[in-house]
């Protein structure tokens, strides 16, 4: 009897203890979540704020006057923005497709236990994680030997096309998830290595391909460093570098036609709002696809970190 009540009391205490911990966790996490989202919210609200309100009150979460002028202006002066958007989309698509192809291909022999140069190849890839020549030799090579400056290739080829991290991610997936017997039986059926790779291995690797595609696409969409080094002609700017440019000089957005129209009642440039509107459309694709791809993202981080 006595022990029973004692047990019940202890259970109560445990439950309230757990409950309290959950409540505290919820509150703290909610606070962190607000902090994570506020800056994003601020640029969205700022982009919808009336320009004179911005000039008077600064960027604010509760603007006195709301306006879509920034977006209207961007639609009117759309050529520059559209072009930059197009470049970003193109670079992201081409870069991701080529990168995934090269990465999944080099990872395949590394996963084959009966490949004679397996360890040599693995070390060849691994060593790139230990040592690098640095920015200066790399810059000199691309610009002085390959003459890549001010070409679209400068946005795609240097740095991101094939990296050790993704290679090992894919190699481990092959090694753990694709049974040797499958490859052997295909060989007995007379399939060549190329056929085996493209007809059997690659289709089976879809989950890991999804993950590295996501990582790679994100890298290309968010990259501005390659253009910082290799692009001086603004016509090759993607959205990120256009953002850098208009932070320094918002006038750059004005297309030729508009500058002629100055003084004829053309819309004046709501520069503070437009800046933020540009940032908003820069993150728009990411925010839109995020709910659908988050799963692969999380999976990739876990697999990449734990199993290397």
């Amino acid at each position: 009897m006595n022990t029973q009540t004692k047990n019940a009391a202890r259970d109560d205490r445990m439950i309230s203890d757990t409950g309290r911990f959950k409540a505290v966790s919820t509150i703290v996490l909610a606070l962190f979540t607000v902090m994570a989202l506020l800056p994003i919210l601020l640029i969205v609200i700022a982009s919808f704020t009336d320009e004179t309100t911005l000039l008077r009150d600064g960027y604010s979460f509760v603007p006195k006057l709301v306006s879509a002028d920034a977006y209207v202006y961007m639609l009117q002066q759309g050529a520059t923005i559209l072009r930059a958007y197009g470049i970003s989309v193109l670079v992201t698509l081409v870069g991701t497709v080529v990168s995934v192809l090269i990465t999944t291909m080099i990872a395949y022999p590394m996963s084959r236990k009966n490949f004679r140069y397996r360890n040599v190849l693995s070390f060849f890839v691994f060593f790139t994680m230990l040592f690098n020549g640095g920015v200066v030799p790399s810059y000199m090579m691309w610009s002085q030997i390959f003459h890549i400056k001010n070409t679209i290739w400068a946005l795609i080829i240097p740095n991101y096309l094939c990296g050790a991290f993704n290679i090992f991610l894919v190699r481990n997936y092959y090694a753990n998830s694709i049974p040797d017997a499958l490859i052997e039986s295909a060989q007995i059926d007379g399939a060549s290595e190329l056929t085996i790779f493209f007809k059997i291995i690659f289709p089976l690797a879809v989950p890991t391909v999804a993950t590295i595609s996501l990582f790679t696409a994100l890298t290309y969409w968010n990259d501005w460093v390659n253009a910082l080094y290799y692009i001086q002609k603004p016509q090759y700017y993607g959205i990120q570098n256009l953002l850098i440019r208009i932070m320094n000089n918002i006038q750059y957005l004005k297309s030729g036609a508009a500058s002629v129209a100055v003084g004829t009642g053309a819309v004046s440039l709501p520069s503070n709002a437009v800046r933020m509107a540009m940032a908003v459309i820069g993150i728009l694709p990411i925010v839109m696809i995020y709910p659908f791809v988050q799963k692969y993202f999380v999976k990739g981080v876990v697999v990449g970190a734990v199993k290397g």
Partner: protein, 309 residues
């Protein structure tokens, strides 16, 4: 009377076709990664664009002598190390705290929402993050000067001109972008802990805090050590975007925002001092190599399973 040695003979596959499949990747890594390794000789040249990579005159150790005589070398190395130290310590603390709290909430829509929101900043480019910081800190139209300081009273601050604030700003921005992302790995480790341990402890009357202190944290130790060693392996490298883009490349802030990576960029692209830049880059590469090899050896000793690769 020893048993006959078993000959383990691996029947190798034909190498040709497999090498062919690997070829594009091999060629890319040779060009993108290995040729620049050979290019480190640029640090020993007085580079001029007119004479080119091979035509420029050798200068021995001059570049290094000039670099280490300037106060830049000490400053950028100090900044790089101290920032990384702060990132490792605070990043780990926040990541673990977030992971423990997410885990406590169990599998619910609430958990999913929190995790999604906390991960979102990691997907933003440094350029966009710099815009967000600008929306808060810009002297004329920033939220902090216009709203917070106006409410609390006090003088407006020209944030992009005052270097003293930036160590705090940069650490905050780093945590904002990375804490949620880093918590993913810890959350996975916690999820891997045997539930029956907690049940037993709970039966013995251990409180939630005791369970964290006596079970969760000790069992996370291997993960913490490995991730920390991996971060230490990159302690001479900094995130270029954080230190270049977020302070808007403001010269007044160099003393607290200059890292080896921003120095190398500025030397190469802005000051046209290729030799010094190459010397700083080589300095970073060599130190980085030593540190990462040491860290990897430690991980291997600590836990053979989790060696980098």
């Amino acid at each position: 009377m020893s048993a006959p040695k078993k000959k383990v003979r691996v029947k190798y596959a034909k190498s040709g076709p497999l090498l062919l499949i690997a070829a594009p990747g091999i060629v890319y890594l040779l060009i993108n990664n290995y040729i620049p390794m050979l290019g480190i000789f640029l640090a020993f040249k007085r580079f001029s664009y007119k004479k080119g990579i091979f035509g420029s005159a050798w200068s021995g150790l001059d570049n290094f002598r000039f670099l280490f005589q300037s106060k830049d070398a000490v400053l950028m190395t100090r900044n790089t190390l101290l920032y990384n130290l702060a990132f490792i310590v605070l990043g780990t603390i926040f990541a673990i705290a977030i992971a423990i709290m997410l885990n406590a909430l169990g599998d619910s829509i609430r958990t999913k929402f929190f995790q999604s929101a906390l991960l979102l900043p990691n997907l933003m480019s440094w350029v966009v993050i710099a815009y967000m910081v600008y929306a808060f800190l810009n002297a004329d139209s920033g939220f902090v000067n216009n709203t917070i300081i106006r409410l609390l009273g006090g003088r407006e601050i020209a944030w992009y001109m005052e270097k003293g604030y930036w160590p705090f700003i940069l650490v905050f921005v780093f945590l904002w972008k990375n804490a949620g992302y880093q918590s993913i790995i810890y959350l996975a480790s916690i999820a891997g802990i045997d539930k029956s341990i907690y049940e037993a402890a709970s039966l013995d009357g251990a409180s939630r805090w005791q369970q964290i202190g006596r079970i969760t944290l000790p069992l996370l130790k291997p993960t913490v050590i490995i991730l920390t060693l991996m971060a230490v392996g990159r302690i001479f490298f900094s995130d270029f975007g954080l230190f270049y883009q977020v302070p808007m490349n403001s010269g007044a802030l160099y003393e607290t925002t200059q890292t080896i990576d921003t120095y190398v960029y500025r030397g190469l692209m802005e000051l046209n001092d290729v030799g010094m830049s190459a010397a700083a880059g080589l300095f970073q590469s060599v130190l980085g190599f030593i540190v990462v090899v040491t860290a990897n050896a430690l991980v291997r000793r600590f836990d053979g399973e989790n060696v980098l690769f």
